[in-house]
């Protein structure tokens, strides 16, 4: 499944980029995130609760950041699994100034799921993914506003 979208965040690209690399911020913003621990230079261990259709479960996985191009883009590789199956995602996030104080975020990636979530949640996957992303950026925006007003 291809996931693609845009989102505007009220923080300029440089500062948003930094924010998106900060494990503590990410842990607060990823919906259902139970823990996010840095394991390597650009690698994190993520535990996240996910609910799709009638399935819910804890996913244990790794998030890796690749091809970083500071303040502009980075690639996000996610792999997680749990009782409900597995999720694999690979996408690129691009940040561009909206010519004001904010950033236009463009994300595009491919997600594969397997096991129970594929068997019972396929119809709702697209919707769930959109919701998770929306809630993530909603939280990032909140943090951004706090950051912006805090300076």
């Amino acid at each position: 499944m291809i996931i693609e979208g845009t989102r505007s965040v009220a923080l300029e690209p440089q500062r948003l980029y930094t924010l998106l690399q900060d494990p503590d911020t990410l842990a607060r913003c990823i919906p259902g995130c139970e823990s996010l621990v840095k394991e390597g230079d650009q690698e994190y261990r993520l535990k996240m609760k996910l609910v799709i259709a009638s399935v819910n479960g804890l996913f244990d996985g790794r998030v890796r950041i690749a091809d970083p191009s500071p303040h502009e883009s980075f690639r996000l590789i996610v792999e997680g699994s749990g009782r409900a199956g597995f999720v694999k995602g690979d996408g690129v996030i691009r940040l561009a100034s909206d010519n004001g104080a904010g950033t236009n975020v463009h994300y595009k990636g491919e997600v594969h799921v397997g096991g129970t979530i594929a068997a019972v949640g396929q119809r709702l996957l697209d919707m769930t993914a959109k919701m998770v992303i929306k809630r993530f950026f909603d939280k990032v925006s909140e943090e951004a506003v706090a950051k912006a007003s805090g300076t």
Partner: protein, 778 residues
């Protein structure tokens, strides 16, 4: 000794007795596997692969073992000594992958069992599954059988990169000549989609090991307890008489329980290992991936004919989706389709090329009809396509090609000998019932006003009462023991193990008529290998035709013995058996069955060369299959705006030979038709390109609900089979066989004036709507 003669009660065979099984089923007092409870019983849950193909780099079970209530965790290494999950079908050149009870270093389909957790409670066992860490290395997978045949496709089993499980050819007559001489050849690709059997009761196993007695008991939801005993004993390398298999109440099977599954040997292993009884009950989601699927054909048909509609030759290229492994009969199923290729028609030139293809999917195997619905769908769709090509009436072209009623036994081009029939009779009756001529006129008028009415005809023949032993991998006979107890009641032990067929009723009817006892005095026991003599099992509409015949012969033996005792008691050589009584022809004196029974067990005096007691056992080997047939007509209306199909009429005329119980026959027809309507309109097991089953529960896999089902008008013609003395043929699968082509023919007929020639099942409103839109814009 009674001297008055009372009037015999009416014969019960042929009467609609209500099922004697139903009171316990509908009051919740039947015992299914999950109702079996034992002191100290533990519970098992199975970790299954979420990947369609992956290497297992490592499995760590230590965290799971520390979870509360967990007593053991076993992986593939622990059960490596168990024999493989058996494939009973043999074909030349068949490639049989090593089908271990648990995966070892690699998994081949979503649902592949990887580890088993045993705990004091089912929920604790399920929770502990989460704590097993598997280090997977996902590999490319292939789920589409035609894609699997393409060069460069991922290899399901690395040792066979072409993914071919087997090839099989069958030819009769001179096909090339037939096609060369034909006026017309029609060709069509037909998909018989993969289905999930969805028995109401999922599978389940309870295993109990008694070390002192060295006896293992396995309660399992199966159609074939005796074969399970033989084959699981083989997997466990245990003498067969140390294993008792019990099939208690079985809540539906449809072929999905005509199998030997990994979990049966696995639970036996667990019970022996932990020294406690263990229960495993398959969840519904598990059932969708861990129990066999059905159908899964792609068929390329070519039919050659003369301009007058005479069918000259049939060619078929059949691609069977095997899945990742062969289960018990997997490779044999499509060969049944080939045997039935010519249907009811006099076509002597046929050629079939079958390719079995491995895919990273759940294995396919027998599902209600098992190869025969696929074959009937093929020939009956093709006959309609041929009729359309020749602008002939679909009824007329069928009458033209039927094997004649005077031609039996009829040798088919595929080597079968059709036993008896009058193929035109059910079609004539169905046409009369729907008032065919008038209906066609109504259809024409409806079309003028923009309504899309379709009339679909299908006739069918099927191979039932499987079958002579030479034709099966497991023996094709059946057995019965009849005991007249000292009190005169009758106990029947049948080797057949039913799961909804109603043997306890039909067999009691046969007993009641032969012995002159009340059905209430007859108990039919089945399904326990330590209680009942060996038998084969329930599949291929064989229970009454073969099991009933074994019973019939055992009853004849008993009647002979009853007469001997009667003659002794009446002190006369001139006696006859008259429904419950032995009557002296000279004096008119008689002795009743209970009087004879008491005398035979008391044994104060015995007839010459006669042992005490009244017990008879018969094993019966059928000389041939039986060949039921029939005609179904479906009238549909398609909503041009939504693509939704409404069934206006469903008429089924089935000839299953002599009918023991019309109510049960009607029940089988209804059930079969409804199940087939599921295939026609709703059901499809869909895998995505990565081998993930995306229709993994009942919210995504639609089975017919009661409100979807039309009124089914069920009629019969009765042509006795000469194969068995009861004259019965079998009816368990007829509904699924006759229905799919009739319903699809009907919908295609409704759209034929738009140039529609074929639509693959399931005929969802979306699919039909798109076809209509395409035609409108074309």
């Amino acid at each position: 000794m009674a001297t008055t003669t009372t009037k015999s009660p009416a014969l019960l065979v042929g009467q609609s007795l209500r099922r004697r099984e139903d009171p316990r089923l509908i009051t919740g007092t039947a015992t299914y596997v999950d109702d079996v409870k034992m002191p100290g019983m533990h519970h098992a849950c199975i970790l299954r692969s979420p990947h369609a193909a992956a290497r297992i780099r490592a499995i760590r079970t230590s965290r799971a073992l520390e979870m509360p209530g967990v007593v053991a965790v076993f992986t593939g290494e622990d059960v490596a000594h168990l024999g493989p999950v058996p494939c009973g079908a043999a074909l030349p050149g068949l490639r049989v992958p090593a089908h271990t009870v648990l995966a070892r270093d690699r998994v081949y389909y979503v649902g592949h069992p990887v580890a088993v957790v045993v705990a004091t409670d089912r929920y604790l066992a399920a929770d502990a599954l989460d704590a097993i860490e598997v280090d997977w290395e996902p590999l490319p997978a292939v789920a589409d059988p035609e894609k699997a045949l393409e060069p460069g496709s991922p290899a399901v089993h690395p040792e066979w990169p072409d993914n071919i499980a087997f090839t099989y050819k069958q030819e009769g007559g001179d096909v090339d000549k037939a096609f060369a001489e034909a006026d017309v050849v029609v060709r069509q690709r037909l998909v018989n989609q993969r289905l999930i059997p969805v028995a109401m009761e999922t599978r389940g196993v309870v295993a109990e090991w008694k070390p002192g007695d060295r006896q293992l008991t396995l309660y399992t939801s199966t159609q074939i307890p005796h074969l399970v005993r033989t084959l699981v004993a083989g997997m466990l390398k245990m003498p067969e008489n140390r294993l008792r298999v019990v099939a208690p109440e079985v809540g539906g099977g449809f072929g999905s329980k005509l199998n030997v599954y990994a979990e049966e040997a696995l639970m036996a292993f667990v019970a022996m290992k932990i020294g406690k009884p263990v229960k495993w009950i398959e969840s519904r989601r598990e059932n969708f991936v861990a129990t066999i699927h059905g159908r899964g054909h792609v068929d390329y048909y070519e039919v050659a004919a003369k301009r007058d509609g005479t069918i000259l030759g049939i060619k078929l290229k059949l691609i069977q989706d095997i899945g990742a492994y062969h289960q018990l009969l997997t490779p044999a199923i499509p060969t049944l389709s080939i045997l039935m290729m010519p249907g009811l028609y006099k076509c002597k030139n046929v050629r079939a090329d079958l390719i079995g293809v491995f895919t990273n999917c759940t294995p396919t195997d027998a599902y209600r009809g098992a190869g025969r619905p696929e074959a009937t769908y093929g020939i009956e769709r093709m006959v309609d396509i041929l009729a359309a090509e020749l602008q002939m009436d679909p009824a007329e072209i069928r009458f033209k090609n039927f094997v004649g009623s005077g031609e039996f036994p009829y040798q088919t081009a595929t080597g079968l000998s059709y036993d008896s029939g009058d193929y035109a009779a059910p079609l004539r009756k169905a046409l009369e019932t729907v008032n065919y001529e008038t209906l066609r006129e109504e259809q024409r008028k409806a079309r003028e006003s923009g309504r899309l009415i379709g009339i679909g005809i299908s006739t069918y023949g099927e191979i039932c009462a499987l079958g002579p032993s030479a034709s099966l991998p497991c023996g094709g006979w059946e057995s019965a023991t009849v005991k007249i107890e000292p009190g005169g009641q009758v106990t029947v032990l049948t080797g057949i193990s039913p799961h909804g067929q109603g043997e306890e009723t039909t067999f009691a009817q046969i007993v009641a008529d032969e012995l002159g006892v009340s059905v209430d005095d007859v108990v039919v026991l089945h399904g326990d290998t330590s209680l009942v003599q060996y038998g084969i099992g329930t599949f291929g509409s064989r229970n009454t035709a073969i099991g009933g015949t074994a019973l019939y012969f055992a009853l004849q033996d008993l009647k002979e013995k009853l007469k001997k005792f009667g003659a002794m008691l009446l002190e006369s050589d001139d006696v006859v058996w008259n429904r419950g009584r032995c009557v002296c022809m000279k004096s008119g004196k008689e002795v009743t069955l209970p009087e004879i029974a008491a005398a035979s067990y008391r044994a104060m005096k015995l007839p010459e060369n006669t042992d005490p007691g009244l017990v008879a056992t018969r094993f019966w080997e059928p000389p041939n299959f039986t060949f039921p047939f029939g005609a179904h007509i479906v009238v549909t209306e398609v909503d041009p705006e939504t693509g939704a199909v409404q069934i206006l009429r469903y008429v089924a005329v089935d000839d299953c030979g002599k009918i023991i119980n019309p109510l049960l026959v009607r029940g089988q027809i209804h059930g079969g038709v409804v199940q087939a309507l599921g295939q026609v309109f709703y059901e499809h097991a869909v895998y995505d390109e990565n081998g993930q089953l995306v229709t993994g529960e009942l919210t995504d896999y639609a089975i017919p609900k009661a409100s979807y089902v039309p009124a089914i008008e069920s009629y019969h013609t009765e042509t006795p089979s000469p194969v068995n003395p009861l004259g019965v043929k079998g009816v368990g699968e007829a509904g699924t066989i006759g229905c799919t082509p009739a319903a699809v023919n009907s919908v295609v007929d409704a759209l034929s004036h738009l140039g529609v020639r074929h639509i693959d099942m399931p005929l969802t409103p979306e699919k039909i709507w798109k076809v209509i839109q395409d035609r409108r814009t074309a």
